[in-house]
């Protein structure tokens, strides 16, 4: 697996904004550091500027004047993409229909003047690495979506790039395949150890693949943090609502306590405000016996690191509380408890 290991560059994005010729402001000035070998995910809804940022890093777009891109502390802002030595996987894969799978993978090496025999060896390595053995002589239009995705990845990695850039590489696939390839991709990226920047709008992908996640909104960075930080301590309402399921409750503050429908909870932060917005994850709510049916108590229990993809194993139940509804994660296995509490829950 030691195909490109230890071959990554650090990336620094300095004050990079982007205004297109028609005046659209796609990206507000942003500064961001990406460590050598790190996998950074740019996450956000469509039109949030994540692809623009990736394209600026790739060299496909120029940042607005004043913006700089540094690879290993070297300014590459004015260097064209073909000389940046980055590997890129496009959303539509951009495979060359006029070449076979093997020729596609070898193209970057051919450009670099690598000899025929060496190219063949490298192609064989990558074909094995990406599980597409036997497809070398196929034409691109003879491949399935998942196979194309693998070829695109193999082609991008073949040139031993310093930085690997992936623009929504799994979006074009169906859900089941996407889940499988996500796991494969994760193992592959870990094995390669290249600096990776991954753009997606899918939070499950971001949670599984990212060392750090940059949540973006309307051209601005909403929060940067590890998947755990983003999930459990979102810095604003947008991040809280965009990642996972969240119960957002607007509540007044009285004597330093947040007054919630079910009881009081000490505020973590500024208590001088008249009110606050509280967020509680459905899985952080436990339902206990001993209370009357409509009395709900908030019991904070931010204990477990659970990525979003496991949410499918749980049931989300909505409970009416006095001012809004509350979603609670309900474990499938606890069917006996479910029966016991079905009376209390009053769905």
């Amino acid at each position: 697996m030691n195909v490109t290991a230890g071959h990554g560059a650090s990336v620094r994005i300095e004050c990079c904004g982007k205004t297109f010729a028609d005046g659209t402001r796609a990206l507000e000035s942003a500064t961001l550091d990406i460590a050598r070998g790190e996998t950074l995910v740019l996450l956000g809804p469509s039109g949030c500027g994540k692809t623009t940022m990736l394209r600026i890093i790739a060299g496909l777009e120029l940042p607005d004047p004043g913006g700089k891109i540094l690879f290993d502390d070297k300014d590459v802002t004015s260097v064209a993409i073909e000389r940046r030595n980055v590997g890129m996987v496009f959303q539509s894969y951009a495979l060359f229909p006029n070449m076979t799978v093997a020729d596609n993978i070898a193209y970057g090496l051919k450009i670099r003047g690598v000899g025929k025999n060496e190219r063949a060896v490298r192609v064989a390595e990558l074909v094995a690495l990406t599980n597409i053995t036997g497809l070398e002589n196929r034409r691109i239009d003879q491949l399935s979506g998942g196979q194309r995705q693998r070829v695109a990845l193999a082609r991008a990695v073949a040139i031993r790039p310093r930085i690997l850039l992936l623009d929504e590489p799994l979006t074009a696939l169906d859900a089941a395949l996407r889940d499988r390839l996500r796991g494969e991709l994760n193992r592959l990226l870990r094995a390669l150890g290249i600096t990776t920047i991954y753009v997606t709008h899918d939070q499950a992908e971001a949670m599984e693949l990212g060392d750090r996640i940059v949540v973006m909104r309307k051209g601005e960075i909403a929060q940067i943090g590890t998947p755990r930080e983003i999930y459990f301590t979102p810095q604003n309402r947008f991040v809280a609502e965009f990642i996972g399921a969240a119960n957002i409750i607007e509540a007044p503050i009285e004597r330093g306590d947040l007054v919630l429908p079910g009881g009081r909870q000490p505020t973590g932060g500024d208590a001088s405000q008249p009110g606050a917005v509280a967020m509680i994850r459905p899985e952080s709510i436990a339902i206990r016996s001993g209370f009357r049916s409509r009395q709900m108590r908030f019991v904070s229990c931010l204990r477990r690191t659970e990525s979003q993809c496991h949410l499918a194993q749980f049931t989300l139940r909505r409970f009416r509380i006095s001012i809004s509804s509350l979603r609670v994660r309900w474990p499938m296995a606890a069917s006996t408890r479910q029966r016991r509490w079905s009376a209390a829950s009053r769905r």
């Binding site: 790739a58 496909l60 064209a80 993409i81 073909e82 000389r83 030595n85 980055v86 590997g87 890129m88 496009f90 539509s92 894969y93 951009a94 495979l95 060359f96 229909p97 006029n98 193209y107 970057g108 450009i111 670099r112 082609r155 991008a156 040139i159 850039l165």
Partner: protein, 261 residues
């Protein structure tokens, strides 16, 4: 029963229309190989008229092919990169240039020729060389090349392919030759055949631009119709046919191939 009647009716109509178009062609060809047209085919079949035409006009035929080939080279060399640039740049200026290139389809060839004569007629050596006709042909055929290449560009994602190749380290020239041109090949081929066919058959423009020493096939044709006996003129048509038909067939086959893809 009713269906069969309708079918028979349609078949008869189609045959009738086809015959209406084909009979003149057959008559013209047969006239070219008849010893004496007024006495009919019974006077005997001969290739003497064809030989006579070849002897009289082989230089115009050769010049026609030279011009057609040169037109092709120029339209390929300029038209394909131009189509690429127009497609990737986009914007209002590109639209404007595209329309300008297309204009010669709508403007009568005579008007283009007149404009060329007014502008460059004074440059004697240029005016009297075959390059003058080449210029006219390039202006006339360029839209067909550019349009047909752009049509293919519209069906493939040129921008992404280009960016894909760039991300692998290919220079703009390499990208163009390795990725863009091969993937636009059906359009380029269709455009090329159209350019050659149009150039070989072009009359309007060429008639205005030619000199006695720079005559092309269709000009020679008009010449022979005007001044030779009918058998010779018909033999000329026959030669023209033999040259142009394979091109048309090849064009049709390419179009079919493109449609199957």
């Amino acid at each position: 029963m009713r269906d069969r009647l309708i079918f028979a009716g349609q078949l008869l109509f189609t045959i009738g229309v086809a015959a209406f178009l084909v009979v003149p062609v057959v008559l013209s060809i047969s006239a070219g190989v008849t010893v004496n047209y007024f006495r009919g085919i019974s006077s005997g079949v001969t290739l003497q008229w064809v030989a006579q035409v070849w002897n009289l006009y082989y230089d115009t035929i050769l010049l026609s092919f030279l011009i057609a080939f040169a037109t092709l080279v120029v339209t390929l060399g300029i038209g394909v990169p131009a189509a690429y640039a127009l497609h990737t740049r986009g914007g209002r200026l590109s639209r404007l240039i595209e329309e300008t290139i297309t204009l010669p389809i709508a403007i009568p060839g005579l008007a283009i020729a007149l404009a060329l004569l007014l502008t460059y007629g004074g440059f004697r050596s240029f005016r009297t060389s075959w390059l003058f006709i080449l210029t006219g042909h390039v202006i006339f055929t360029m839209p067909f090349m550019v349009r047909s290449v752009m049509a293919v560009f519209a069906t493939i994602d040129v921008k992404t392919l280009d960016e894909g190749a760039a991300s692998l380290g290919a220079s703009p020239a390499r990208r163009f030759l390795d990725v863009i041109v091969p993937n636009a090949a059906p359009g380029i081929l269709a455009g090329a055949l159209m350019v050659v066919t149009l150039s070989l058959g072009e009359f309007n423009l060429t008639w205005m631009l030619h000199t006695p020493l720079t005559k092309t096939l269709p000009i020679g044709l008009a010449d022979s119709y005007a001044s030779m006996r009918l058998e010779v003129a018909s033999a000329y048509t026959l030669i023209f046919f033999i040259m142009i038909i394979p091109l048309l067939v090849a064009m049709q086959m390419l179009a079919d191939q493109g449609a199957r893809k």
